[in-house]
Homo-oligomer: 383 residues x 2
């Protein structure tokens, strides 16, 4: 009976995976295997491969580690102990980047997916699924008059959110990076569990988090003219479609002191461009590892847009309760962020700047920044 | 400036994908590329590979098609024209199954992910994102007293669903297969867009669809004793956790005539076992390509459970408005389904049996079955 059951499982599993007919099952093994001492073993069945290597998000530089070929054509490597975190990794089979065939946990992206490993531990507790009350994540499909297409949107409602109650919640609009989709702040950013944990500990105000798609200009286009319009299209879609949808379907407040805008990398640049132009809409801005000023076009865009604004900083300073900017010193955008800070200082725009020593352009940092930034939001002594 | 922009895009993209440092970008190409005549080109950059092949869900048997190596180490193949559908495919690089590195669209699973191609066309229109009003999909995390762990749950609410209205909606509880997760009925099954389209055409009653996780027994366990308890645990979790959660958080009716239960493969077996035991809870049952009776254990389970029930079919026939069973004649579970039908006939249990000539164990069929079954639900002349 045991053999029957395993055979059924294999047939259903492999039939469900790729084709309607059962296929021969490869040998049984796990990858990744997490050991109790925080070492991790990666394995892949590749009897015909001549070279298999591993690159993990935790590794410095651009090196890859070689896997060793064992019995039954299974290659393996054990690394660590690693610091507990949610981390991407890629296996290379004869040079081809491969999603670990035994691992269902992947990071989505606009162009591909990448394997993830979720190593639990105290350092990663703040974004883990813990025994606290949990909020709900909603996916909406809406027609955007700006793009002429349907777009998707994620919304987090906090635990206890009740559409029948009279209370009106504040909203954090949270933008993703250039390689991401609107699901990224949930699957990798874990915005929902970060807030669940903060709320469970009484460290943040209950809020909605709205995560729109940051690519109104077709991200598969390599047309620089179209892609150059992305920030402008994002501003239109956010103000004309996303915010009205949220404010009509959820019990949320609609004054600037109850709205925040934040984003990472490309979303950081969007936050600066859209947020500084609309302090009447958003009183809190969070700018994580921003790509602002990276190209001459982006520098020009930024300078032109804020020339008049920066000549009268008093009004902006009165409207904005918080302009929070963070960047790692090992980020390839670090110098650009220093230039932005210098620009703000030169024009006396009030802001908070957090520099994280040794940190790169990484989700490690953005999860931490979200946890830190969200605790500062919607407090009576907001700024 | 054009070069700047492309370089930025590449850096942000590749940096965001796998590591904190920029890496050299491989050559530009697309995969899959959909041609207007429904042919499809697959490509992969694998300069060191000696053999690359393709297997697609649309292919009969277990053959693979060889890709041809071209310039720059890019292998390619053009197939079709294919019938418009949502289809899985796998590239094999020196024998290793590979998720297409250029394709972000993947089918999730409990053990791995698989590349998807979405070829639009009239045949696939019923499950495509069309210009009709759209419902919302909600993800809940709840603590299950049955498993002692947190579990995830997807809920579809139809367009126009308003928690403040007095109307109480009917609910379809929809279960997935052995290789699936609770997201499968959305990402591959497209239950939300199928219902959006039916509702837009006035062909179905507005309803919620609740999609629980069908693996309360750890699916990574190969322990047949634990796995053998899965149906029983699923019954408990559904009745004790899922239904109470839904009925407390959504405006839904709580009488059996306003509840349906359906599922595919493993979920079909769960539907039969749970549904027939609880006609006081569910008046409509949908059983798609069920795995019932596949093993001696499952046959025994089924026979024991319904011995007394089948001796008094009148009560069951009076309670059930619809017992709908469907299976393809090319399904490896086809004979088992015929045995189930024979059992029901022998005991005079009223049912509808749909046989689909030539169809296998496939999502092609399950999307069609959902569209057909959901139109029969919650009508005054329900049976």
């Amino acid at each position: 009976m045991k053999r029957d059951f395993l055979r059924l499982f294999q047939i259903l599993f492999f039939a469900g995976l790729a084709q309607a007919q059962p296929v021969a099952a490869p040998p049984q093994f796990r990858s990744p295997e997490l050991h109790t001492d925080n070492r991790v073993t990666f394995r892949i069945h590749a009897p015909q491969a001549t070279e298999v290597s591993l690159r993990g998000e935790w590794m410095a530089g651009s090196d890859r580690l070689p896997l060793e070929k064992g019995d039954n054509g299974i290659w393996s490597i054990t690394v660590g102990p690693l610091k507990p975190e949610l981390m991407t990794y890629t296996l290379y089979v004869n040079g081809v980047p491969v999603v670990d065939p035994r691992n269902p946990l992947v990071k989505p992206g606009i162009r591909s997916v990448t394997s993830l490993i979720d190593l639990p531990g105290p350092e990663a507790d703040f974004h883990a699924l813990k025994p606290v009350p949990h909020g709900t994540v909603h996916m909406h499909w809406y027609f955007s008059r700006v793009t002429g297409k349907h777009r998707r949107l994620h919304v987090y409602t906090p635990p206890g959110y009740d559409p029948n109650k009279k209370v009106r919640y504040p909203v954090l609009y949270l933008l993703h990076g250039a390689g991401d989709t609107d699901s990224e702040w949930i699957t990798v950013g874990r915005a929902n569990w970060i807030l669940d944990n903060l709320l469970g500990a009484g460290k943040a105000k209950p809020m909605l988090i709205v995560m729109p798609d940051g690519h109104p200009a077709d991200p598969s286009s390599m047309d620089p003219v179209l892609r150059g319009q992305n920030t402008k299209l994002m501003e239109q879609d956010l103000l004309e479609n996303v915010i009205p949808l949220v404010e009509s379907q959820y019990r949320v407040a609609n004054n600037p002191g109850m709205r925040a805008l934040a984003g990472l990398s490309m979303g950081g640049n969007q936050t600066l461009n859209i947020g500084l132009a609309h302090p009447d809409r958003f009183a809190y801005l969070g700018v994580f590892s921003s790509s602002s000023g990276f190209t001459p076009q982006m520098q020009q865009e930024f300078a032109q847009r804020f020339e008049s604004l920066f000549q009268a900083p008093e009004k902006l300073n009165a409207q904005l309760r918080l302009l929070w900017i963070g960047c790692g010193t090992a980020d390839f955008l670090y110098q650009r962020n220093l230039e932005t800070i210098a620009l703000l200082k030169r024009h006396n725009i009030r802001h908070v700047y957090k520099e994280t020593p040794g940190a790169g352009h990484s989700w490690y940092l953005w999860r931490q920044y979200l946890a830190e930034f969200s605790q500062l939001l919607f407090r009576s002594n907001g700024s």
